[in-house]
């Protein structure tokens, strides 16, 4: 080897390489991703810590809501049909708030994808995060890439068996913890924790843990990139969200090609070479097992680890970073045109460099203002609009509501003194976790009085009713009107309910039927 700089060279072939094609059915190629280091890797460690932290710890956060409601900050109470999120409590009829959040999540995904490509896939998707976590375990137990390949090829021995058992045992432990954390969102976490370990929890809890353990272990440990490539619909959909100004992980062949393993020797012979030394560092770190130099591919989750790997190589070689970089298709095409004289000839590395050997001024680089374009404005606008609507809906929603159902059979009853009686089912929704006394009143019907079944009071126009905390109360109310005061036929009738202490009120207009 000539030259003074040593770059480690790896033997690697992309799993989707055309050379490895098989007809019809293909066995999975094992991938042994090498540990990467660099700024993207550091950022990914951080994202992993935050997302896993949120997932595992959230159910344990407490939030005091008084004696009549659970004190778990985030809780989906299926039995009582309530959803608690810190200071927000959602009833089933307010589920549009959750639907709105999902719409926001969707639009947010479009927004992020149109600007920074598959950032969801590369950084925050649970599949990516858990695979990363499983890989940490794999490396800790079996070693880095080369050691793992060696172990994989070695015949079975006590050591190999021990290492494999240890790895799978830790994976399963993580999988159990993952499935276990999930069910804590649906019940009081500390109570359920004790119940789980004393065999007192409901069978559905154990079944859920078992299913999620199986899926986590299978997807994170055994299937990995297969999930992204073959099972997930998102790689197919996201193509519709990308345009020529979206950032994606790109191999900049306009400066990398022609690649050469022996650049010095080639240059000595007067052959032009690009920056790529064909060391395969980018291939061996790739968790998807592909070669980014083959161009944009469906398999690439844009985890950016190949950028870290190549930047390390470029640093060693003393060249500019960014042979593999986040770039837009527009910039890439511009630079390609520069390097190939608008496609007139093969890539000429000299064309992108100035006399001093540095990258030329003419090379296009990503500029932040490219983020602001109609597509992103529309996504952001839609996202923000839904968000504002949700906030508006949340702060203006009623915590005391009334629904009235008029009896239809019979529509009215003639009483012995000739007065007319109508029946109503009145539902009062007390959406705060406190007992409160409200006043139900009748309006707009001359001479009408009511009596509430189960409340022993003389007929009147207003009846005080005590509401249980955080519950719906259903009342049967009979309204009667003396015949001589009625107009006959259908008359309007309005019920109101008011909480005099909080000044909350609701009303409902219905009708009162009487003979013509």
């Amino acid at each position: 080897m000539s030259g003074t700089i040593e770059v480690e060279r790896h033997e690697a072939e992309a799993v989707n390489s055309a050379k490895l094609r098989q007809p019809l059915y293909t066995a999975r190629r094992k991938i042994f991703p090498k540990r990467a280091s660099g700024s993207y890797r550091s950022f990914k460690w951080l994202v992993m810590a935050v997302t896993l932290g949120i997932y595992y710890l959230t159910p344990w956060l407490r939030w005091d809501r008084g004696p009549h409601a659970p004190d778990q900050a985030v809780l989906v109470d299926l039995a009582n049909r309530r959803f608690y999120f810190f200071f927000i409590e959602i009833w089933p009829q307010e589920f549009f708030l959750v639907a709105g959040l999902l719409v926001m999540a969707g639009l947010g995904l479009f927004l992020v994808t149109s600007t920074v490509g598959r950032a969801w896939c590369g950084y925050t998707c649970p599949q990516t995060v858990w695979v990363d976590l499983f890989l940490v375990v794999e490396r800790a137990v079996e070693g880095d890439r080369n050691a793992r390949i060696k172990l994989d090829q070695a015949p079975w021995s006590a050591r190999k068996l021990g290492l494999r058992l240890a790895k799978h045992a830790i994976w399963i432990a993580i999988a159990v913890a993952t499935g276990g954390a999930w069910i804590f969102y649906f019940a009081d976490a500390p109570t359920l924790f004790v119940e789980l370990f004393t065999a007192q929890a409901a069978p559905v809890a154990y079944i859920t843990v078992a299913i999620l353990t199986a899926t986590t272990y299978t997807f994170g440990g055994l299937m990995r990139e297969q999930v992204c490539t073959y099972m997930c619909p998102w790689p197919r959909i996201q193509a519709a969200m990308l345009d020529e100004h979206s950032l994606t992980v790109t191999y900049n062949d306009w400066r990398g090609e022609p690649r050469s393993r022996h650049a010095k020797r080639a240059q000595a012979q007067g052959i032009a070479t690009g920056d790529c030394v064909d060391c395969n560092a980018c291939v061996v770190v790739c968790p998807m097992g592909i070669d980014i130099r083959d161009g944009q591919q469906l398999e690439c989750i844009t985890c950016a680890l190949c950028i870290d790997a190549c930047d390390g190589v470029m640093d060693k070689l003393g060249r500019e970073r960014g042979l593999i970089s986040y770039a837009t298709l527009a910039d890439y095409n511009a630079n390609m045109a520069l390097a190939t004289g608008n496609g007139a000839h093969a890539i000429e590395p000299a064309k992108v460099r100035d006399a001093g050997g540095a990258l030329s001024e003419a090379v296009a680089h990503f500029h932040l203002r490219k983020i602001f374009r109609p597509r992103t404005f529309i996504y952001f606008g839609g996202w923000a609009l839904v968000g504002l609507m949700l906030i508006y809906g949340l702060v203006t929603r009623d915590r005391l509501e009334m629904n009235v159902l008029h009896d239809r059979n019979p529509q009215f009853v003639v009483l012995s003194d000739g007065s007319i009686r109508n029946g109503y089912t009145v539902k009062l929704l007390n959406k705060v976790p406190e007992v409160r006394t409200v006043l139900v009143s009748l309006h707009d019907l001359p001479g009408a009085t009511m009596n509430v079944v189960g409340i022993d009071l003389p007929d009147s126009v207003s009846v005080p009713v005590t509401l249980e905390p955080d519950r719906t109360k259903s009342l049967k109310i009979y309204v009667r009107q003396p015949r001589e005061l009625g107009a006959g036929g259908v008359q309007a009738l309005r019920f109101t309910v008011e909480d005099r202490s909080t000044l909350e009120a609701a009303d409902y207009t219905t009708s009162f039927e009487s003979p013509e």
Binding site: R21, T26, Q226, V414, L415, R421, G423
Partner: protein, 284 residues
């Protein structure tokens, strides 16, 4: 249509299918996918052995697990009966007044009674219990035989003019058409109508009423629930409120019959029906 090409960008062969210039890459399936596919076939076969599936000439295979949807329904119904056994037992044991006083028991009995009402009572009293001419409205506050829970229970249990039951309620108004003349009946009807609507009570009907009717309906025409004699002063008329309706009823009274239900439905259901009827708004 099927000329295979090597795709320029990927270097992969196409399947030869082409739609508007779009070609399909011939990528191989993952092998585990194939195994999953075989596994679903095995599963399907096993399923048809375990569960009823294959049609035979006049029936179908029963399946090794002995499952049937009818048996599952049976189990669920039994489960429902078992789940409400506590309430059912409490309703069976408690007197009607106690059931009404207890919120939970009342709700349970009202629902059960509503169901029984729909099966047994709506044919005469209507689905809203509002009755019709000749069939009393159970929502209002007039009761021929009393509107307390116990009165209602006795009426439902033993019926009215139901000869098969020795304890049935019985009343019979004589047919005055054979005893009084045409004019007298008309005068009486005029008087009775005036009782309820207000009007001249000094006409010839007053004396006729005192002599013929007051013994059951009372001097003031207020009726008597112990005799099943209706109140003639209120706004509710079982057989109509016009003078002609009233005169017809005086001449040749119609007498409705209600069966007693105790033998058919049993003690508990009768109590549940009582609670339901009492809840309709007129119960006392």
């Amino acid at each position: 249509m099927s000329d295979k090409k090597i795709d320029d960008v990927t270097g992969i062969s196409t399947t030869g299918h082409e739609w508007d210039g779009i070609r399909e890459l011939d990528n191989p399936m993952p092998r585990w996918w194939l195994w999953t596919f075989y596994a679903t076939i095995v599963w399907a076969l096993a399923y048809t052995i375990a569960y009823p599936a294959w049609p035979l000439i006049s029936s179908a295979t029963n399946g090794m697990l002995g499952y049937s949807s009818r048996a599952e329904l049976r189990t669920e119904l039994d489960g429902a009966v078992a789940a409400r056994a506590d309430y059912a037992a409490a309703v069976a044991a408690a007197p009607v007044e106690d059931i009404i006083a207890d919120e939970a028991l009342r709700q349970f009995a009202t629902s059960a009674g509503a169901a029984a009402f729909k099966v047994n009572c709506v044919q005469c009293h209507g689905s809203g219990a509002a009755g019709s001419a000749g069939y009393p409205n159970l929502n209002d506050d007039e009761w021929l035989w009393g509107g307390t829970p116990e009165d209602i229970r006795v009426t439902i249990a033993h019926g009215i003019r139901f000869e098969a039951d020795g304890e049935t309620r019985f009343s019979e108004m004589p047919a005055f058409g054979g005893m009084l003349g045409r004019d007298e009946v008309t005068a009486l009807a005029t008087h009775v109508k005036a009782l309820g609507e207000g009007g001249d009570l000094s006409g010839p009907g007053a004396e006729l009423f005192a002599n013929n009717c007051a013994s059951c309906h009372g001097e003031a025409g207020k009726g008597d629930i112990t005799l099943g004699a209706p109140d003639l002063t209120d706004a509710i008329w079982l057989y109509g409120s016009t003078s002609a309706d009233i005169a017809a009823q005086i001449r040749a009274p119609r007498h409705g019959v209600m069966p007693g239900w105790i033998d058919r439905l049993g003690e508990t259901t009768v109590k549940e029906l009582t609670v339901y009827v009492h809840s309709l708004g007129g119960g006392q």
